[in-house]
Symmetry: C2
Subunit: 223 residues, 2 copies
């Protein structure tokens, strides 16, 4: 369903070239819960940004549902991001002058088959805070708004960049269970970057990255 | 050295009042490594902001080194923040159009006895990236710039809001060891918010928070 083949991404900074991705290849099946782990700077966010159609690669190919998205033009990428992808950003990217509820509504307005906004906010534990602005919320509360926003889109492919980074153990575990349950019940494909090694047992595919490459690839038959 | 006594902090939002802190009391000795843990929304960041002189309380007192900082006027608070405090923010707060090195230098220009800027950046593993801007750095690299900036000030009191939230296990552990070593060698007092329960063994004081209160307080004789 998802296939990265020898993907390279380079950043030129004067005389220095950073090889953010240096030949990344892996596959993910439809409906999988895939987990991406690795040290800081390994290239995890770069992989997710490419999968989400938010950045372009320098070499290689990325096919999603049979189509090489690396060959999409701007218009096709915009459609892809809007219709097929839900994205939880490492830095949340919430709209500061919209409330939590309005942030989630904004994302669902362009969705073909969105979930109920208030229900999703309740599922992430923010029922009483949905009328607050991001600046009135704690770090973990803001992260949960970002998660609700992506979930509510009801996308084919949900991409989460460290979705529990600001959450305590119990809240984080509940969030991952919510994501996993949604993945199992709706057939959604889920890719999660996490540095919480304790969670790798939950996924069908474990992709370990290091220095812009895949260092290890595990298939888990019984998550 | 640090004493919070029945501290209250309230946010009024229309008819609703949020009791961010609902009677918080605890003490920390000079040179301690204190760890604050608790669920998302418990009030941890609010406590740190008050300790750092960046916010004001509604009830109670906070004494640091014998002085009630809750009674400081604006000028005294500015001096306190500038000279005595190093702060690692939950959202980093880096200056986007200054490089990593310039961000750290900016903080040390107003310090009485700063550490060497390049040396501190090397200690957090960013020797090769110090001339990059925050937007050219991964999440964990940006977090490490924020840590270097606070450390380089060589403050009496170092306050860190989830300093390893975006770091993988190995990098995070190295960073906490660096903070602990600095605390032990310089006599600095260190307060760290973390939701990584595995790390609580490292501190002399463990302060567990829940719903705006201290739910548990442990003294660890042998960290
Ligand atoms: N715009 C950019 N310009 C230059 N280098 C960049 C840029 N964006 C990312 N990089 C570099 O590419 C490498 C991979 O970055 P990436 O953000 O993918 O890492 P990551 O695995 O997500 O790390 P973290 O766990 O710290 O978030 C890093 O060395 C980073 O500094
Ligand atoms: N400006 C504000 N206006 C209204 N409520 C606020 C404001 N700032 C914080 N709060 C609320 O106060 C409570 C405590 O917030 P705080 O940021 O201290 O939590 P925290 O323990 O740091 O949580 P996290 O682990 O999620 O970062 C939360 O319920 C939060 O929503
Ligand atoms: Mg990242
Ligand atoms: Mg916080």
């Amino acid at each position: 369903y998802i296939k990265l083949d020898n993907v390279h991404k380079r950043y030129k900074m004067g005389e220095v070239t950073i090889n953010a991705l240096n030949g990344v290849s892996f596959g993910i099946d439809k409906g999988d819960f895939a987990i991406v782990v690795g040290p800081s700077g390994a290239g995890k966010t770069t992989v997710l940004n490419l999968l989400g159609g938010m950045d372009s690669l320098d070499e290689g190919s990325i096919s999603v549902d049979g189509k090489n998205i690396a060959e999409y033009n701007q218009k096709m990428l915009t459609e892809y991001r809007r219709n097929d992808i839900g994205f939880v950003f490492q830095f949340y990217n919430l709209v500061q002058n919209l409330t939590a509820k309005e942030n989630v509504e904004l994302a669902t307005q362009i969705s073909t088959n969105p979930l109920d906004v208030e229900h999703v906010l309740e599922m992430v534990g923010l029922k009483d805070r949905m009328n607050n602005f991001p600046s009135q919320l704690s770090g973990g509360e803001q992260q949960r708004v970002a998660i609700a926003r992506a979930l509510a889109k009801n996308p084919k492919l949900l991409l989460c960049d460290e979705p529990t980074g600001a959450l305590d153990y119990m809240t984080g575990k509940a969030i991952l269970k919510l994501l996993q349950d949604t993945c199992n019940s709706t057939g959604m494909t889920l890719v999660v970057i996490t540095h919480n090694g304790a969670l790798t047992g939950m996924g069908e595919k474990i992709i370990k990255m290091k220095n812009g490459r895949v260092s290890e690839y595990k298939i888990n038959k019984n998550p």
